[in-house]
Symmetry: D2
Subunit: 310 residues, 4 copies
């Protein structure tokens, strides 16, 4: 159960079977940093190519295809005080005939919103542009937008999108204290992570969270021989499953099927019992409706699951 | 501000320009009952045709096309102690290749789950079928699955589905204490309601909530000359907008566009400000992913809105 | 087998259980006229409310719920020489970020394209606006955009949309010589039709065909006891099924399921045979991707079906 | 304009920046072979890993990011006489509640249909399983299911799916005589191809065409400085654009936007003219509705385009 301090020197814009930057053992902890979605690091230097550059990959000894990689998000803390975000709701998130009403910039111009982030006070304060929001203050809940393991068959999947291997899920539930489970497709699993957000609304409908570089600590573990199909997770209140696809309907189908499997394999429920329970107690979160693949999360309350006495 | 006690004698399976059962004034309160989705009333008698039979319609004096009808859900309380629900997650909510794994009944047979509902204790206890859930107890949060106003142009829309006029939205947020806003399309608005659920999971993925007859009290009000496009609502914590369509993506587009309009018309936000705010603070709920039209709800925190000081 | 000459005096903007304008017998022929989508008749007079006003409904004696109504489209001929069409591809038919590139009119202004239609020469010649198309000449193939039978349960469905009962399918395959089959939901079936197009591209992506009033002749027949789920049709080369829904994926699901049923019930195919055949020989047409419900058509070649010798 | 005879020794199951197997010049012709989707070659030997193994990649001298690669499909001819196909329509192509009616095999068993293919006579004759189809004979129209160029940013995209770079589009219009245009993302373009089908229905709804190994001849050309967004093509009658995504609606959006761009850049049409023309003359084909990304094709008649005289 070693603790590894890792300082990244290069980053990847795909999640794939890249040469590992570090080998770690089952149970080890990694303490490292991530640059923001645009490649800007804690000193405000662009040290990676824009588009969700990833720290890693980390090779976890013993992980093989068919296993499950457990990633405990121990700590995700902004390591600088300026973040940026989109200034316009994305056109695919509004009615097609409302698109011209959005606040488009003049052709060829770009603009972001900038926020002052105080990691200690846990606040983000809007600095510009000038709008009717004034110096709006939001409470931050730092999270990772993009992380996952190398996919099968030598694929290298853009960090713009997501699939069974994780990736750019942009789900604001991936915060400190959450445990995430990924299916393993290649030896060592090859964990990548990055794209930190100080906060993000459901759906990432302006195309970003408050994008910022992070200090990250994760602890990894391998569950041998447990094969899952989609990313899973748990926090203090819920177990959850993640479906990444388009349209949102298909995200729900993936996440719901995965939850039905989980309830039957690990919670001793029969198919009718699992259906009745989910029908009246399931909850869903909208991860993102911006990226090439959207994300929906299917959640079941641990308290309710614990109350079952057959 | 009269209080009307109304006892329904007939019900409608469409929402349309039916002859009103009662005329009420702006500000009046209606105290009445609804039968369950199958037409069964508080005495367990099937007194209406199955398929979300509606109590009403109620003609609200002064309401005209282009106005907004305000419906305050004062009280929704189960008025019998047996409810029923679906026993299988619906095939459109799981992966197509998982469909055969669902617990289908033998062809031609039907089965429901039955629950003992205690309105005072606020609990629902699973009575049958026998599953690994045993006598599962859930806390109830009574709600209306289907309600709305008569649509334009003489349409009579099945209570199986929903649209701009409301209808079978099956959103578990429509509970006691919530205020709902509907666009008015015809003189008197013609409010219909029914399809009470003692509780329902997000998405109504087993095709039902815990279906039960209700004692319902609502208070109605008219906002003259305020034209909205989609149902809106508010509770203690949130204002929200409702999009009804397929796929879920389009629900999100409807609800998000409506929220952008609302923030600019009533909360003094400019287009860029509204976008920046929603990008980092919006929340979405999944109403239903079972009915012909699905439902997504777009929510903004009243606390955050109140904190804005331009 | 009477021939009825019917002159319409009023029109409906919903398809529903309206009072029939005429009772006809099984096998009878109806010769009548339709106004265009905007309500303009053959003399250029607006004699109906805009939004696909329907001629009818016609009550077909003997038709009952559970039967099939056969509608033979004997003849559809423009009865005036001016037609109009949309001048902009609809925003829901292009990429969301391409929407601002479309040729929007200044706010509050509307413009249509106008065509000179020569029914004898079978041509439509673009008259205005002035564009790089000059006086483009297209060969016309007159069709009905919206037609169908009254839906179940007293519904009155807007002629803007479509469903199991037919409606605004906007499929350019509904031309003279085609036979269409509708499920019957109410006594007399209650056939409505209108919304003639001199020609229309696949998808009706500019929101219209070349809209024009028509002389229409149809012959109706009842197939007792044959229950179908979705509209079906046939022409000289194909049998076809029609799925109306959103997104297009669901249209394909409806139409494909209906074709699988048809091949097994009427073409003596087993499930595996029907699957193998459709896999390599099925064709699909895009009806519309503009209306509230979209339309896809599933086609099987009569020549190939006739070649099967088990 | 050299002619290269290339004999493949290894294959790739992703389309990406793999080491080229051959460098060719602008204008050169490549004569080679492809194995079938399962990796079986012309001698019935499995010489590649299943899942659309690709011949190539071919490096085309002079092609750079931002250019267009022209791929002329000179000849695609089955080089063995046995093909295979799916025996069940895929569950995502039928209504969710129809899925259990499909002819599923007993769990753990697989079965394909087998066809005798006669490349000279241009026929495929069903050999097994035994069904009501007997020895059905279909006329073959050989095509390539999967082909394209290396995507940007070092991505390696599974040959199960498709995107801007082409890939597993499974469009039965990609036959001998067709010219295809791909956006170039990397130096040399890196052309891959394979997954030949003797014939395929629209949509590839049984999950396959008649899968078979092929003799393939293509001629490649580079258009310097012409940047396109999506694959395009042309045959004797049509120019066409290809959209790959989910749901089908988004495929239509991609392909329609690309056609609007093409008509304006190369056919001297103004935005209004392009819209009016497409509204009444566009056609769409359904490529596939089976793969992770679906495919729709937007077509414009060359005859109509040639008739325009502004």
């Amino acid at each position: 159960m070693a603790v590894h301090h890792f300082h990244p020197h290069h980053y990847f814009n795909t999640i794939g079977s890249h040469t590992p930057v570090l080998h770690v053992a089952d149970g080890d902890t990694i303490i490292t940093t991530t640059v923001d979605a645009g490649g800007w690091d804690k000193d405000g230097v662009q040290s990676a190519v824009r588009g969700n550059p990833m720290t890693g990959p980390f090779y976890v000894d013993g992980a093989e295809a068919g296993d499950t990689l457990v990633v405990q998000l121990d700590s995700i803390v902004p390591n600088r005080n300026q973040g940026w975000s989109g200034r316009m709701v994305a056109p695919n998130c509004v009615d097609p005939d409302y698109v011209p009403e959005l606040p488009w910039m003049p052709k060829g111009q770009r603009e972001s919103a900038y926020w002052h982030v105080d990691a200690l006070a846990k606040t983000a304060t809007l600095a510009k542009p000038e709008t009717k929001l004034g110096g709006l203050v939001l409470r931050i809940v730092p999270m990772l937008g993009c992380f996952g393991v190398a996919p099968a068959q030598g694929q290298a999947i853009s960090t713009a999108t997501s699939a069974e291997h994780g990736g750019n899920m942009d789900y604001r539930g991936f915060t400190s204290g959450v445990t995430v489970y990924f299916p393993v497709f290649v030896p060592g699993a090859l964990l990548h992570f990055g794209d930190g957000h100080a906060i993000q609304g459901d759906g990432e409908i302006a195309g970003t969270g408050i994008e910022i570089s992070m200090d990250v600590q994760v602890t990894v573990r391998v569950i041998k021989g447990q094969t899952i199909r989609w990313p899973r997770g748990e926090n203090a209140e819920y177990i959850f499953t993640v479906g990444n696809a388009r349209p949102l309907d298909q995200c729900v189908q993936h996440a719901t099927s995965e939850m039905l499997r989980w309830l039957q394999s690990d919670y001793d429920l029969d198919p009718v019992g699992a259906s009745i329970l989910m029908g009246q107690a399931v909850e869903y979160d909208l991860g993102n409706i911006f990226d090439p693949a959207y994300t929906m999360v299917c959640k079941m309350s641990k308290r309710i699951l614990a109350s079952i006495t057959p």
